[in-house]
Symmetry: C2
Subunit: 203 residues, 2 copies
DNA sequence: GTCTATATATTGATAGAC
DNA sequence: GTCTATCAATATATAGAC
């Protein structure tokens, strides 16, 4: 085994994963400024010096973590897409219900949304990565769906897709992110039924 | 003038306003954990001890400030309401356009939204005060409008109001808060026209 | 490559003069 | 009631052993 090939010191990928996993808990729970490197070190089970060998500083660790999370599309269930065969109303209702339930059941998604929005002023690149990977992906899919489904006659597919997503996201914001579902009560199924009736005009 | 009436030391309201004004800049710009008392002291032009005589600690100062801001309904132009005389489409378009332009032109509203959402996990009472004063106020008004306007026949006024507001808020989120208007481009007038065509079905 | 131990700066909050 | 000066704790980041 040839050992000497110039500088042979490299960073271990396993430690990198440990650090990122520890950083996730801390950053999601306390935000960027509120997160403590010591806590990340503790949660990761590595030394502080190792953290600083893998990432130049706190900011780089934070951006690396959030960038990585923005690529995990399964967070919003953007993959479980059914076929075009189904009736539009049934398909759209299933699509929306899956998203609403998914968000409601996973607190990590909520804290992730809070971080992205809360830090969007100081970290606009992170916000833009999130929009590119999450928002735009679902908007493009729904726009295409509204545009091409043979049983639908949508005047403006893109705005319809925005209204559809916007209504759902707003519902999630009030109910789950801002924890105010009791202040503005609205049953999930009623929202979905009336929203679909509004969007899918069946003559 | 009788001077001795037990403890006669009180807090000056003028200083309280100075402190809150200084705290606004700092908290809105850096968030709760990122805000520094020293900077607030500097911006307010008072001493640090004065701050701690008016507010028990950093958290109390923060909640007092945000609570106060949540009551300023003029932030979202929830007051400039026109009469019922106008045509529904014209009125709703003016209502929406006013809100969109207002938010786009005032960076303070954007940072306020970022704070409310970003800190909603750690300060749920603040989020709930915001929803009560801002979101519910506009939702109730629009629901009543959709329900009672003689020229409108809306099947589910409350869901329609939610779809209307949700689409607008989502548009503001993408374009202004997350600063990603170029990633998902959408002209304001096209959104408003197509959205109103969706909602206001005129036979 | 990862550790322990530490440097340096800042933080939120307070004591005491006036 | 407000100030100046300062405390004790904690922060991020680094030096040097192994």
């Amino acid at each position: 085994m040839i050992k000497s090939k110039g500088i042979e010191r490299e960073l271990s990928p396993e430690k990198t994963e440990l650090i990122l996993a520890g950083a996730m808990r801390e950053f999601l729970e306390h935000g960027y400024a509120g997160a403590r490197i010591d806590k990340i070190v503790e949660a990761a089970g590595v030394s502080k010096a190792t953290v600083y060998r893998h990432f130049p500083d706190k900011e780089a660790l934070f951006t690396a973590l959030i960038q990585q999370m923005s690529c995990r599309k399964e967070l919003f269930r953007l993959q479980n897409l059914q076929s075009y065969e189904e009736e539009p109303i049934a398909f759209l209702k299933q699509y929306a219900a899956g998203m609403l339930d998914n968000v409601a059941e996973d607190p990590q998604i909520l804290t992730f949304l809070r971080i992205i929005i809360g830090e969007s002023g100081r970290f606009p690149e992170l916000a833009r990565a999130f929009v590119t990977n999450m928002e735009k992906t679902s908007l493009d899919f729904l726009t295409e769906y509204f545009k091409t489904h043979p049983k639908l006659q949508i005047a403006d597919p893109e705005v319809t897709a925005r209204a559809f997503i916007g209504t759902l996201i707003h519902f999630v914001m009030i109910r789950d992110v801002l924890q105010s579902g009791d202040i503005m009560p609205m049953e999930r199924d009623r929202l979905l039924n009336s929203l679909l009736a509004l969007i899918v005009t069946n003559p």
